[in-house]
């Protein structure tokens, strides 16, 4: 137990990543504000990025830690994709706001059956 607390290892990163994922999903589920949902999406993406870096560093049972920095590279790709995604999402919100006068996602239901 004391070992688990004193040395940072893979599970610690996974717990942080899991908490981020949970926070992100619950944000997406509870917010009606489009920007809030976007923030939730970013949290989920960051959780994934942390997993990539952590698994790259520690490997997992049976798989040795990678000597290269592939995981870090993926994390950087995620950051770049997140930036692109955020700009596209914000552009959509802007147009949505121009049409509806609000960014409440519950009002985006013109296509509902």
């Amino acid at each position: 137990m004391s070992d688990l607390l004193l040395t940072i290892s893979l599970p610690h990163f996974l717990v942080v990543s899991f908490l981020l994922l949970a926070a992100g999903i619950s944000t997406m589920l509870t917010k009606r504000n489009a920007i809030g949902i976007l923030i939730g999406v970013e949290l989920v993406l960051n959780a994934a990025a942390i997993n990539f870096v952590a698994f790259n560093h520690y490997g997992w049972p049976g798989v040795r830690a990678a000597p290269a920095i592939d995981g870090q590279m993926f994390a950087i790709f995620i950051i770049v994709l997140a930036a692109a995604e955020a700009s596209v999402a914000l552009a959509i919100f802007l147009n949505f706001y121009n049409n509806f006068g609000s960014i409440d996602v519950e009002r985006a239901d013109d296509l509902k059956a």
Partner: protein, 717 residues
Amino acid sequence: MTPVQAHILDLLAAATLIPLASALLLLFAGKRWLGRLSGWVATLAMAGSCGCALAALSAWQDNLPATIVFEIPWIPVPGQAAGYLNLGMLVDHLTVAMTAMVTLIATLVHLYSIGYMQGDKRFERFFAYLSLFTFAMLGIVVSASLTQLFVFWELVGLTSYLLIGFWFERPGPRLACKKAFVMNRIGDAGFLAGLAILYCKLGGNLLLPAAGDAQTPSGVPIETIYQTLTAILADENASILSPPAWLTFAGIALFCGAIGKSAQFPLHTWLPDAMEGPTPVSSIVHSATMVAAGVYLTARLLPILTPGVHLFIATIGLVTLVIGACMALVMTDIKRVLAYSTLSQLGYMVLGLGAGAYNFALLHLVAHAFFKCCLFQCAGSVIHAAGGKQDLRSFGGLWRKMPATMACFAVCTLAIAGASVMGVGLSGHYSKDGLIACMHNYGLALDEAFNPGGTTFPFAHIFYWAPVAVAYVTAFYMARAFTLTFLGSPREPHLIEHAHEAPLTMLVPQGALALLAVVATPWGMAFWGDRINASAMIVPWVQGGTEEQVGETAVEFTHHAVGFAWLVGIAGGVALYAAGTKNAARLAKLPGVRLLHTWFLNKFYFDGLYDGFVVGLAKAVAGLAWILDRAVIDAAVDALAKRVREGAASISPFDPDPSGSPINSVAFAAQAADQALRPTHSGRIRLYVLLAFGSAALILMAVLILVFAARAAGHAA
């Protein structure tokens, strides 16, 4: 490590981190708990930081040119010899002096803002941004490596965006902050490219070259970019004087970053527009922080730049110097006159750096920081008094109402014009005249280099004649601004009827800055000149520099050429504008002058060019894509659809019973399925999120159960 070095390191670390702490405090606790007190909290924090920096400066003066590099591992980089990208502090004379200058001006600007931003609804936030801005600049100044510098460099970009667009409810600031951001990004793309080239060639740790030899706190010598570079070049049988092409490319690319931040010629258009921000922001952006960053970077990198890059830098500086001064001549907005004047003065600094007048360029940076900050604060007080009006043509006669502001403005006008009598002068005199003397040497050396046979290379001489001419123009346009604002009789009496002297929180910083504009340079000369010569910047190919090296001829030339520039310029400006703009308007009607006047007034059509060319190009590409979409892709799809319909029509006679045919039964089945699934398409996005993640979780669980079951079965077997 000597105790003094450790002491200085601690002091500078504190000076850098205090503004960050105060910014975070204001950002999170400002509105709720501090309220109107925020201004004083931020100002006191800055004053503390300034105290640390000044203590470091005075400690440094007793200390000889040791350079301290302090490192902590930051990002692990596998495969590099050093293993890590390092976070650290580089402390040499340049760092110490820049930190003192930045914190001093930031403190005075904070104090000024308390008066100026009184009653603004985002009062606390303004101070948080301002402190963060200062922190970012200090971060640049103390950074040990180029990569770390780049991080703070971008932070300066971000905070300047926030400050310029502080009044984002109005369209002007919104456009201006976007423009500043985009222009800076264009420059930073170059910076990044230069960084990548150096990274590829030199490996991970890009420690900035320090003046003299660098060592760690424990006394171990450290290899900076300069040493790495010379070692690599020696292997390739090259040197910085006969460099490989990549080194020149890297130098030019890195300088592009400085072009963006310091508003040099092709990217200069953001600086005047940044006037849309609150006046305290203009006063700090134009003096100590943002535009100083580019000059600082260039000065830092000077030892690793090749002669080709030096010429490039000098040329860019020359163009900026001239066009800035020309535009400052005709602007009617008081803040814009000052903004274009900054442009022109930055041109002096960059030109000087390109020509190797290292210490005079930096001296001018410090001197300019003090008087330009003061000029902007005075302009802010005038605008405040005139109820927000900024047009020079409607001021006039304000000396009666605001004598103290007028005195400050007058002192700084003399300082920027470089006033001197019998060799004793205000700050601008020392730095600018020194620079011009160095330019004289550089011009002659260029002439020599391009024309060894003795025939004259006409363009080389422009490198010193242009600065000389601009010295006259500078005095003239500053006299114009001063005369139109303060002298004569009020042109719009109702405007200044209620004008009054600025409150004490604004007057005190103005006065302090005016005082500094007078005394800073003699002190700076003592510090700067001795230190820099003693610490022997390793730039042998750069000429100019010390006063001894400048030489008799250059000093004599400078005396004759610009000795009385300030007097001529100021007398001309006052004489022409004493009676308002009538005489000048008549002058502007003369045939040749008229053309120039139109050019200057339209800022050489740079904005139009960029709008027309860049935006036009983007629109043309978009139009082309639209045509492609319509003519090729849509046409293909339409043609395909037409074929399908024709095909369907041709086989329809073979389908005897439409209602019972197999095709129709597929369609009916699809319709039924649609009806069944319809309720799930409720248009409620959050339900979709729940469904997506819920089903992902269920699938994951199923997979895990299967895996464990398989493993358990394997064990059992």
